[in-house]
């Protein structure tokens, strides 16, 4: 989705990085937290909540991309 947006611009390589960075931070934060818990050998119950957030966020982003992509595609 981001690359589709960036692809429309002229210097798409740099723009791709700039646009996707803030979008990736939340995903990265959750992933880091899950990894930390995995290393600390928890029982996995605490991980379930974080995994839920991660899936929720992914579903949201994919859903938005599905709705909005046709507008980008139409040229």
């Amino acid at each position: 989705m981001i690359s589709a947006i960036a692809g429309k611009a002229s210097n798409s390589g740099t723009l791709m990085a700039i646009l996707s960075f803030p979008m990736l931070i939340p995903v990265l934060i959750i992933l880091i937290r899950i990894t930390l818990k995995a290393i600390a050998a928890n029982d996995g119950a605490a991980n379930a909540q974080d995994l839920l957030y991660l899936t929720g966020l992914n579903i949201l982003i994919i859903g938005m991309a599905l709705i909005l992509f046709p507008y980008l595609w139409r040229d």
Binding site: I5, A9, N11, P22, I25, P26, L57, M64, A65, Y71
Partner: protein, 230 residues
């Protein structure tokens, strides 16, 4: 909508309410809450910034959707100029929040990197800064308008997830989450509310005022190049 914005009465109201906020807001009796004490007055300066930002972004979102549906250039002009002002309020809200936090939550570095809502706000603002970088890098106007409209819808949803949804699920130092009381609990005699609601209204109308001026400048700019965007 632009025609109605030429009226004067709401601008006068905005100035009067701003003076009221900055005047009476400094003298209003405060509930003497532990830790907050007199810093509770920042409620009139910090929170309305975010309210105004969110309302301007919502208006901009509506115009972005209208652009994608109708494809008239004027909607794009309105949407992007409102976002400019919204970002200004966002940055102001961030700065006042930093000041407030440094008095009540202690050392800046201890909570800036760990508080959920602060992080969310930083991420949300970054997403919107990227919006302007995106606009700056596309030359074709039609394409720029369409791509940035799509991106701003995307950004609005992510910003709201970052500052409104996640802090309610996770712990945050901010009121209203993590077992912290909201301000209605402290505000027993409604003194704070008497300043707070006018402040929100004043900040929002100030944002509308600035953005309407920006919009009119953009329209003039288009007219100068003999492009009809109405």
């Amino acid at each position: 909508m632009l025609k109605q914005l030429h009226n004067k009465w709401w601008k006068v109201l905005c100035v009067v309410l701003l003076l009221y906020t900055f005047g009476y807001g400094l003298f209003v009796p405060t509930p003497n809450v532990v830790l907050l004490h007199e810093t509770i007055r920042n409620l009139f300066f910090h929170v309305p910034c975010w309210f105004a930002m969110l309302l301007l972004m919502l208006t901009s979102l509506i115009y972005s959707v209208m652009y994608l549906r109708k494809g008239r250039m004027i909607y794009d002009v309105v949407a992007t100029n409102m976002l400019k002002v919204a970002l200004l309020f966002g940055v102001l809200g961030y700065i006042t929040g930093m000041l407030w936090g440094s008095y009540t939550w202690g050392n800046l570095t201890s909570w800036m990197t760990s508080d959920t809502k602060t992080l969310g706000a930083a991420i949300g603002l970054l997403i919107y800064f990227a919006y302007f970088i995106l606009r700056g890098s596309i030359d074709d106007e039609e394409k720029r308008a369409r791509v940035s409209a799509v991106y701003s819808i995307f950004a609005f949803v992510l910003l709201n997830v970052a500052i409104n949804v996640v802090p309610r699920l996770k712990d945050s130092l901010h009121p209203g989450s993590g077992g912290n009381a909201t301000f209605t609990v402290y505000d027993l005699d409604s003194h704070l509310r008497m300043v707070f609601y006018p402040a929100v209204f004043a900040y929002t109308t100030l944002g509308l005022w600035i953005s309407s001026l920006l919009i009119r400048i953009s329209i003039l700019h288009y007219k100068q190049h003999h492009i009809d965007i109405e």
